[in-house]
Amino acid sequence: MDRTGLLWMLRQMLLARTFEEAAAREYATGSISGFLHLYPGEEAVAVGVLHAAEPGDHVVSTYREHVHALVRGLPAREIMAELMGKKAGVSAGMGGSMHLFSREHRFLGGVAIVGETFPLAIGAAYAVAYRRLPEAVICFFGDGAVNQGTFHESLNMAALWKLPVLFVCENNRYQIGTEIHRHSAVVEVYRRACAYGIPAVRENGMDVLAVHGAARRALERVRAGDGPQLLELETYRYRGHSMADSGAYRPAGEVEAYRARDPIQFLESGLSGSLEGHWQAACPGPDCIASFGEYCRTQGHLEGDCFTRLEQETVQEVQEALEFARQAPAPDLQDAWAAFRCNRRGERFFGREPT
């Protein structure tokens, strides 16, 4: 990949983390409330996958979707405004953190019932195939979603009709507080795809280049008409499930092991002594941003204070987004009714009412 592509990905990852940490601070001060599910730790997944997407592709995501939206190109200021429930938000303040939408960016949500992304994605893919368009649908989901019936129902239909959809599992090993060994009989998500004859691979979700390469190859197959593909990306969230969750169910040292710049050194330092069970330290870090920054530096793309300047740029962008969102007006009830009636096109229900 060329320098422009590499630095774009690094900047997106930095922007994502800065944005989410800012959202956490706003939540603490009360200007964002409700449910807030943050992404730090998983940035390589959204950035690697979506850098492989074309503008004509469609993206379906979950309730942990701020970063998918950001990377897809929805403006940071409009996402932040949505988090604060403002009229200038991407969903006009009607959706909130878990319901970011943009028809312009072909971003189909922001759906917050676990397992809902699957039928929505195969529906979009059905429409693409129906119109014989050269587009793909990218469907994000977590490891917790694979035990919903919709996962199996939708994979079956996608395979049956060779729908152009890429299923992307962000396996962060926790469905809220239940670790994957306690919620799944088969913990390798990619292996489940073989039940439907769907090609699937597992990749290190902390390595943005590996993610990007896998996504690019899978999307090539989707576009070639080979039907659905599945990617399992092993990743980790540093924070709890939502702001209401301290993550206390995780073994001591596990988060630090993933966050560490050099996980091997971290493990050797003995801090992981409290980890129990063979899997718990199986795939620690390094932190995706730290390691990718290191890679860019060794390739000669981060000369001088380039990394710091990138960081400062993203801090500036998030600061502007915050100021925009704070000052934006709230929607009123008329705005709500307008959203509710968006598809009415002057249709008269009883023939008496004014249009």
């Binding site: 189909l108 809902e116 195969i122 939708s154």
Partner: protein, 330 residues
């Protein structure tokens, strides 16, 4: 004007809409090769091909959700759910997705989804195949629901539902599919949600929908012989409700009887009775009364099954009690 069976009227509506708009597609269990369990999609796959008439696996939630996703991209899917009993498995797609996404996105996405399903008590299908679901779906802002009772309305309302950009439920009735009636394809249809006065009367107003319109009309005939003029309103739509037509009639007759096949407790009739009481209180000579299904899973045994839902004689008795101001109504 031709005489058509109810299912033939639905079939004709689908055929015309599919012919005139290539964004209309049909999907559901056995809608293709088999032709639909009530024949509604008969021959459409041969005419329009597999991509437009899609046989699905038995995965109600996901194929209904597929319709939602396809509608977001501008298609006009007509999803057939074999019966409302199976739609219980698709409530996530209907309530959490179809009803919410246009609103939650701030008004960005179309949702020209039509979901057809028959409900109601048929003949000895047992408690799992005899249910009504209107109470649940009426309570969901963002879903609209029509309940055609005649072949003509089935023809009109399905066509209008397909053309609407809002999600619409067309609630059919298993016992109506083989009813025959005139269908005029040239007449301009009335507004989709407008109620219709199907029999005039001066003594009391009876509000009914779907198959209960037949029951109400039969009762009205018996009551006429007793000198009681029962006006019958076919609601045609449960969401939204045409309150003005109902109110106009109740203000004329001063008495109102609501007939529903669904269980009376917390059913559609409860909403109708409560709102009409609020709107018409000072015009009423007696409280609004309801006749409906008893609060019991539908029994299999034929006499018990028949006794579990309103019949013409129970409607007659309720109307007489309402008019005389006496007697136990249930």
């Amino acid at each position: 004007m031709t005489g058509l069976l109810y299912w033939q009227a639905l079939h004709r509506a689908l055929d015309l809409e599919m012919d005139s708009d290539d964004s209309v597609l049909v999907l559901g269990e056995d809608v293709g090769l088999f032709g639909g369990t009530y024949r509604v999609t008969e021959g459409l796959m041969a005419k329009y091909g597999e991509w437009r008439v899609r046989d699905t696996p038995i995965s109600e939630n996901s194929f209904t959700g597929l319709g939602v996703g396809a509608a977001m991209l501008g298609l006009r899917p007509v999803v057939e759910i074999m019966t409302v009993n199976f739609a219980l498995l698709a409530l996530d797609a209907l309530i959490n997705m179809a009803a919410k996404i246009p609103f939650m996105s701030g008004g960005q996405f179309p949702m020209a989804l039509t979901v057809r399903m028959p409900g109601g008590v048929a003949r000895q299908l047992g408690a799992q195949h005899s249910q009504r679901l209107e109470h649940t779906l009426m309570n969901v802002p963002g879903l609209r629901m029509v309940v055609p009772s005649t072949p003509q309305d089935a023809f009109w309302q399905l066509r209008q539902a397909i053309r609407s950009d809002d999600p619409l439920i067309v609630l059919e009735h298993e016992l109506l599919y083989f009813r025959k009636g005139p269908v005029d394809e040239t007449l301009p249809p009335p507004p989709l949600h407008q109620a219709k006065t199907v029999r005039e009367g001066q003594t009391l107003t009876c509000i009914a929908y779907s198959r209960m319109v037949e029951v109400a009309l039969e009762a009205a005939g018996i009551l006429a012989g007793m000198g009681i003029g029962m006006e019958v309103i076919d609601l045609r739509s449960l969401s939204p409700v045409d309150w003005e037509t109902c109110q106009g009639s109740v203000q004329k007759t001063h008495r109102c009887l609501v007939v529903e096949e669904d269980c009376v407790f917390a059913g559609a009739g409860a909403e109708l009775a409560a709102t009409l009481q609020e709107r018409c209180f000072y015009f009423l000579d007696a409280p609004v009364r309801r006749v409906g299904g008893i609060n019991l899973p539908t029994p299999f045994s034929p006499d018990l099954e028949a006794a579990s839902i309103p019949r013409p004689d129970t409607v007659v008795q309720a109307a007489r009690n309402l008019v005389s101001g006496s007697g136990n109504l249930r």
